[in-house]
Amino acid sequence: MGDLTLYALAVFLTLTAPLAVGLLMGVDRKLTARMQNRVGPPLLQPFYDLFKLLGKERRLINPSQAYFALGYLLLEGTSLVVLAAQGDLLVVFFLSGAGSLFLVLGAFSARSPFSQMGAQRELLQILAYEPVFFLIIVSIGIQEHSFISRDMSQNLIVTLPLSLIALVAVLVIKLQKSPYDIAHAHTELVSGPLVEYSGPYLATVELARWAEIAVVFGILTLFWNDPEPVAALLGKMVLVFAALFTTLVIDNVTARLTRRRMVTFTLSFGIALVAANIIWNLYLGQGVGI
């Protein structure tokens, strides 16, 4: 592929990935509804919502909310750019983490009980998933001897199966699914950190969240590589849908964990999974795997 093609591909991926996530959200709602014997909203409902929000009047408690929302979107967007440009996964990770800090600051900046409680809980979630996410990326780096996503050549699904399982746990938290919907907790916290956002600002935050989730899905796709482009693409898509479906099933069969248990459970099991995988690959299972 020439440089120009790569440029075009990076721009294309950055712009379409969040939209694809929006579509996946639609699939998510539809499938969840079916699991609960409902008809569910149309597939494109997340986009209808987004456009409707964009057209609404602007209401804020104070302007810094808006700045932090924009910061959130930009940092998640930049993270996605680096990933789409097949850059360094650690940079992707740190940029995306910076984005979630901005979401928290935005929620804190409104003096509102629900919003601030949501912010504290969002921080707890960060504490729960960031270490696991970081270690998953380190395990990829160890396995591939590089953190540059362009260099990924193995089928990590075979060599890092436990990291993949840990990544699904991260995905469940980022998608705010049960048992991890601590911050949004729609029954009592309304929508946690987002409660004081409305109209176009809510749309901004929502779009940023799509980008944030796109980053996780993007890293997920790195677990499948194939020299044949069509086979690679198909494999990656299967991986994405399989992961989404798994989170849906988990969402529907589990109840929310308490905050403390979320942190200890995710950290202990997530880290143990990745650790087991790294130890196996480095010390025990030499010669095993592809």
């Binding site: 804020l60 930009l74 360094d88 940079v91 804190f108 912010a119 270490p131 004081e196 650790a275």
Partner: protein, 652 residues
Amino acid sequence: MQRARSKVPCIDKLNLSAPPLPPLGIMELGGWLLLSLIIVPMIGGAACLGLGRVLRLKAGVIVTSSLTILLGLLLFGYMTWNGLASISMTAAEVAPFSEVMLVADFALMLVFLYSGYKERSALVVLFALAQLIPLTWFEFVLSGDLQEPVIMVDFLGVMMALITSIIGSIICIYAIKYMEHDAHQPRFFAVMLLFLGVMNGAVFSNDLLWFLVFWETTTVCSYLLIRHEGTADAIRSGLRALTYTLGGGVALVFAIILLYHYSGTTLLSQLPLGNAISGLALVPIGLFALAAFTKSAQLPFQKWLLGAMVAPTPVSALLHSSTMVNLGVYLLLRLSPSFSPIPELQYAVGLVGGVSFLATSVLAIGQSSSKKVLAYSTIGNLGLIVLCAAIGTKEAIYAGMLLLLFHAISKALLFMAVGVVKHETGSEDIEPMDGLRDKMPFVTFALFVGVITLLLPPFGMFASKWMISEISANYPLFAFLLAIGFGASVVYYGKWLGRTFSAGPMRARKSAIDQPLSSYFKWTLLALMAGAVGLSFLISQVVAYLIVPYLGPLHIDVLFVSGALGMFPMFALLVVIVVSLTALALLSGSGKAEITDAYTGGEPFVFANSGAYFFSEKTAGKAIILINAIAVLLLISLFLFPAMQEVGLWAI
């Protein structure tokens, strides 16, 4: 005057058998700059003692600080301009000072003895004697070589001197306002300025006996500054700091003597390489590391630095960013080739740093005092530098130096911002900072800049965190310590920063700021903000002019986000973020948005903020006992492995 013009400076390859040197009188500019960087702050400090009247004292501090900044920049400029990798001065050249140093050494010991006696601390007396007696004996045994480079500065030293001279001086200027109602200002500023000179002296010393004198003087300075306010708490904390760091001094004395015994040198530049020594010859290296841990407040010695928070905020800023704690990690960076090739020592030292980072990051979540949070964060970041020194590859030292530099700037900024809050509101706790941005928008912005430059891409600290993460792929054990630490630091800084930004509906906001910020506060904060952000922009220049002259070029240029699109410079990211934020903010015109009230389900409410601390003091206390035990085991292993190797029980 000796010059090493080698392109890649390597301390053990310096030409040590140079022709006879000119006497002091016709010393070259470089030598004068070194000496004046040590002496000018000291003279300024001594003068402060005499300048009783406030106005003259102010002028004295400002003049001395500005001169020190200027001299630091001149040294850097002189070495860069002339392409010098290092400057050194032999014992013959600085002969007039040797006697001074000897006297100072014994005077210091007497000061320690007296302090220990006066404060009724048997431990301090014991530690002082444990230094005095071996040192007296050693001075007789040691035969000095006049051609030895007693003073030597390379670019690691220059970087340290720049940090001390510039950031330290800015803190002194800041302190003029902060301490304006203090009863003992002359004494305070005398010690502050003395501290800068002593710190420069320590990083310029190549002879370990000189290094020891300066090292111990920093102990005295910190002791005097911590107990400055004279309250029972201050005196107790001061004594604790003295005990801990004096204990480290004992380790340093024995390290020097044993180093001379096993390797026949007292020069930092001739430290033996780790793969050239074995068995008990490794013991002095372990003792150096132990001394460094006490100075940098690594586990299990963290307690003295946390207690030091009772001191006035400028003191905290000085101890945490530009002096004192930096000296320990500086020593470890110098020492790295001596222990990093030996896996047992490498892991023992690295784990002390890594566990310090992990433990302090988690403990900081449970702290409600902003100064305590910052103290924990300092110990954690120094732990990262210790980890870098332990890994010891070129990339790791690179990361460690960057971390040291950018941490110093951002941490000084944060302490000074907290100091302003304390000065104006009387509190340094996090919860009362709720809505600080209404009351003190400028200070809140300074806090914001401090935190984001410390935490987030694309600022300087991030570059080194990124490098450490990248290196950790080769050391998976360390990666696990980093992972939780990174996550936890986002949490504790997020909570605090969020609190300061919390604000109610804009129309109900108090628009009045009680009084305009003192220009001392404003300009010093501004200078550090500009430094933190500006040097992040100029990170490639920082690397090219400060780090490459010390370490040589790095084969992978990790300061660039490499991707299929070619090289994507870090600062381009910064520009993109800043420009688009501004553009979007202008376009969206948030000012025109309608101001609304917080949603409460229609109920009237009174907002009472409360922080989430996740665990109790009691849980933290238990955890501290556990991690201290781990750290003690690691320290023991530093000496156990060499001893076992000596008697043939362990093959390193």
